[in-house]
Structure formats: structure tokens, C-alpha cells
């Protein structure tokens, strides 16, 4: 696993990918920090939470090549024909992407130091936001890894990952629309409107339960919830396992 981790992490810096990701992140976080700083009211929690909106751009960039590139270049043969375990390959790549994320995030630590130096507050809520940020990154990176494992085209992997993250970010809105649509549909089929509305709202509620942003929104006030973190972690584990199965299945394919 360490061999794969090392190779993948360093390969980010052998190509423009690592630099581009870091540059985008530095620009965005720097811009957010500066705009707060210049008004005199620094709120690091809100900076970090705003940065989550850019997962949808940064995660596809850093995950799209992880497996797709190997498949295209034929280097995936190494994972199947050497004694290395396929799951440790998946984990190695996952950790490499997480490590790149940590490097990018060091910008925010610099902002913390600056804030502290200017007698600003870096409270428990900020650390809560940092924890949430990383757990969400785990989740979205594992989604990106699955996207990269199912195709040998980086572009398709990036688009697939982009759409998945977009859907999760908009899940609150989507669930409302979904609930309304179900209500309308049931109403058309002649169900009485009260019942239809309650079914619709129950479904919307169920769907919005999946919203990780809603689950973790109290962290920034310093209210931590283990179950929310477990939710993110579970999603990450499920997607990593799916990626592993997809790669393993290739060997058995009859197509």
C-alpha cells in the first residue's frame, strides 16, 4: 500500500495536476480569506464551509486519473499480476488523494496563523469545520475513485464524479422537488390531497436524510456529532469497496 501511495502522491507533482489543484485551492481560499480580512471580520468557519462548494471542481481533477490513466496506459497489469493486493491498491490511491488534499488545505492553516497573529479568534467551531471538511473530502474522493475505476477515459471519470458531487450538494433542493413531484403525481391518480402531500413530504424527508451538509452543519458552532462523521466515513468505505469490486470484476468479465 505504501508503494502505491508513494507513487501516486509523487505522480501528482510529476504532472500539472497537483500544481493546478493546489493553485485553484490557494486562489479560492486566499480570495475568501482576503475578502473577509479586508472588512475586518474574519470568520474562518465560514471560509472553510464556503470552500466545500468547490469540491465539485477540485475532487474530479485530483481523482479522475487515478485508475483511468492506469487502464489507458496498460499499467494496471501490474496490480493484477504482481503479489500486491488489489484492495491495498485502492487504499493507496485513496490516501494519495487525501494527502494532496491535506497539502492544499495547508493554506487554511496559514490563514489560521495569520488570524491568530492579528489577535483574531480560532475557536472550537473552526476546528469543527476542519474536521467536517476532511470527512467530506474522504467521502467525495472515494466517489471520484469509483468514477475513475469504471472507465478508462479521464474525461468520463471527471464528468461522472462531477455529477455525483453536484447531486449530493443539491440534494436538499432535489428532495424538495422530488417530494412535490410525487405529491402532484399521486394527486393526479386521485389520491386525496392531504395524503398525497404527506407521502410526498415523507419521501422528500427520506431523501434529504442523505444530505451530509445538513448532518454536519452544527460542527461550526462547536457541536460535534459522531454519527454524522460515521455517515461520511461509511459512504467512503462503501464507495471504496465498490471501486475494489469493479476492478476485481474486470478479471472475471466475459465481455
Amino acid at each position: 500500500m505504501t508503494a502505491i501511495f508513494k507513487r501516486e502522491f509523487l505522480s501528482y507533482f510529476r504532472s500539472p495536476v497537483g500544481y493546478v489543484a493546489i493553485a485553484i485551492f490557494s486562489f479560492l481560499s486566499g480570495f475568501l480569506f482576503y475578502s473577509q480580512f479586508s472588512t475586518g471580520g474574519v470568520n474562518l468557519s465560514s471560509e472553510i464551509n464556503s470552500l466545500r462548494n468547490f469540491f465539485v471542481i477540485i475532487i474530479p481533477i485530483i481523482t479522475m486519473g487515478l485508475f483511468a490513466e492506469d487502464k489507458k496506459r496498460g499499467t494496471e497489469v501490474l496490480y493484477y499480476t504482481t503479489p500486491v493486493n488489489l484492495f491495498s491498491v485502492v487504499m493507496g490511491k485513496f490516501l494519495a488523494a487525501v494527502a494532496l488534499f491535506a497539502v492544499m488545505f495547508s493554506n487554511v492553516f496559514i490563514h489560521m496563523i495569520v488570524t491568530k497573529a492579528c489577535d483574531g479568534a480560532v475557536g472550537v467551531g473552526v476546528w469543527g469545520s476542519v474536521i467536517v471538511y476532511f470527512f467530506m473530502a474522504f467521502m467525495f474522493i472515494s466517489i471520484g475513485i469509483l468514477a475513475s475505476a469504471v472507465t478508462d477515459s479521464q474525461i468520463i471519470a471527471a464528468i461522472f464524479c462531477f455529477i455525483m458531487i453536484l447531486v449530493i450538494q443539491l440534494i436538499d433542493t432535489i428532495s424538495t422537488y422530488f417530494g412535490n413531484a410525487v405529491t402532484a403525481l399521486l394527486g393526479n391518480f386521485g389520491l386525496n390531497s392531504e395524503k398525497a402531500a404527506s407521502v410526498g413530504s415523507k419521501l422528500a424527508e427520506g431523501l434529504s436524510w442523505l444530505d451530509p451538509f445538513d448532518k454536519t452543519q452544527d460542527f461550526r458552532f462547536g457541536v460535534f456529532s459522531v454519527s454524522a462523521l460515521m455517515f461520511c466515513l461509511s459512504v467512503a468505505v462503501v464507495f471504496l469497496y465498490l471501486a475494489f469490486r469493479v476492478l476485481e470484476k474486470k478479471r472475471w468479465s466475459q465481455g
Binding site: L78, P83, R251
Partner: protein
Amino acid sequence: MIEINNLVKHYGDKKAVNGISFTVNDDEVLGFLGPNGAGKSTTMNIITGYLSSTSGTVKVNGHDILEEPELAKRDIGYLPELPPLYLDMTVLEYLNFICDVKGVKKSERKEHLAKVISMVKITDVADRLIGNLSKGYKQRVGIAQAIVGDPKILILDEPTVGLDPNQILEIRKLIKTLAKSHSVIISSHILSEIQAVADRVVIINKGKVAAIDTISDLSKRLSGSSKLLLSFKGPVKEVCSKIHSVPGVVNVSQRISDGDIHEIELTIDNNSASDVRASIFFAMAKSGWPILEFRSLDPSLEEIFLSITSKG
């Protein structure tokens, strides 16, 4: 030692491999010969664990490739048709990575890599990016990757394809060196390629084994008749009839004519007592028709299959 037993691989309705069985002994070079699409690469991919078989077993030194994959894979070094190279790494970085993946101990690594690098002669390019190397060097790095970790068995899928004649000779020489201490399976669709390095040949066609034989037995089986090409200056019709009358010549057919230079193809009965070539030379010389070129024609794979299958 590799035992391959009744291997079958389906791709949808298509049977890429259909009941292949053979054994590779220790320290033997086994040539794996067949036309494009015969199932060579598929078979090799199954042996190395890259693909699974639909049915049948592969045992590497007694370990089943599916049941004890880690033990079996430890003994195999594989060079696929497309060498699995990371173009963004230097040769040394890449081989270090392969050492990591194959679990070569840190303490032995330096010595081991030095040995591998000098064996495949890539010392000069060890610090260069793989992406910047020529095709011949890339192929060598691919072979280096296969022999890292000292596997007992090497599986090389068309190792000389796309190389220039000099590079082909060098790779052949390298394979011969490796064969002293390894079992080698080498695939190709060119007979002479296999003849140059292999002890034994497995010929496959349409997913089935057409023949398993030693090189010398195979050439005996093929030697019933052979073909010669003769290019000369002179009257075609007379030359043809003259040569046809030479004992041992079974058939004469005209190939190309360019002005008064002609090319004909002769089918020779190899069981004839005298050397037909000498008789032809003297017959031509006596009539004053100069020979411009005179050489034997290698049988094509199709002819080999025909001759093997027709003679059972």
C-alpha cells in the same frame, strides 16, 4: 514449472481459448506461436492472473493461480504486449516502485537492481524519464520490470514486436541469457522468431493447440517439401522447362517479371537424394543464364498449420 490444464475462456459467444493444455518445464524456453487473434495473449493473461479462465486450471510451481494467487504470482515475471511503464517516472524510480510492489527487501534492493540493470543493459538511461526513451529501451525496461524480484518463470508477450532488426537481435540475445536461469514462455506470430530462441514450440490456432513439439521435430515435420526463390536473366519458358526437368523439383511457378529479369518459385522434394540447389545452379550455368538471387522461402504460418493439420 507451469501446468496448464484444459483452459477455456469465453468472451460473450466467442471462445477465445478453447481447451488448451500444456506444461512448461524448468529452465526451458517455450515458444508460443500462432497467428494474430489465435488466443496467445488471452492465454498468457490467464497464466499470469490478469484474467480469469472460464474453466480449466493454471498451476505455477504447484500453486493454483486463483486459489493461491500471491504465491503463484511471486514466481512469475510478466511482460505484456504493451509494457506496463509509467512514462512520468525515471527508469530507476520505476524499478524501485516495482521492487516495492513485488516486495523485494530493502537491504537487498540496491544490489538486485544493479544486477537487473546491467543484465538488460539500461545503465546509461537509468536516470532518464521513461517517456523520453526509444522503443527498444522501453522494451528493455519492460523486461527489467519482469525480472525484478527474481521470478523463476518469465512470460514475454511478443517482446520484439515493433523493434528494428538490431534491437531484435539484442533482445533475442538477452532472452537466451535469461533462459539459463529461468523458464521462459515467449509468444510470437513469426516462426523464425521462435526458432531462434525456443527449445519447444506450442502452436495454437483458433484457441486450440495445433501442435506441441521440439523445434527439430517440427522442422522435420515441415521438411517434406520446401520452397526456393530463383531470380534470373533469360527466357522464362525455357528456363522453367529446364528446371522442371532437374530431379527433385516438383513444381515451378512464375512470380514476377521485370523486363528480362524473372522470378520463379520452385517446390522441392526434400527427400530427394542429391542437393537440388547444386543441380539447378549447374543447369543454369551451362545454358548461360545468370542467377541473380537464389534463396529458400520460409513457410508462412498458414502453411505450417496446413502441413501440421493435414499430416495429423
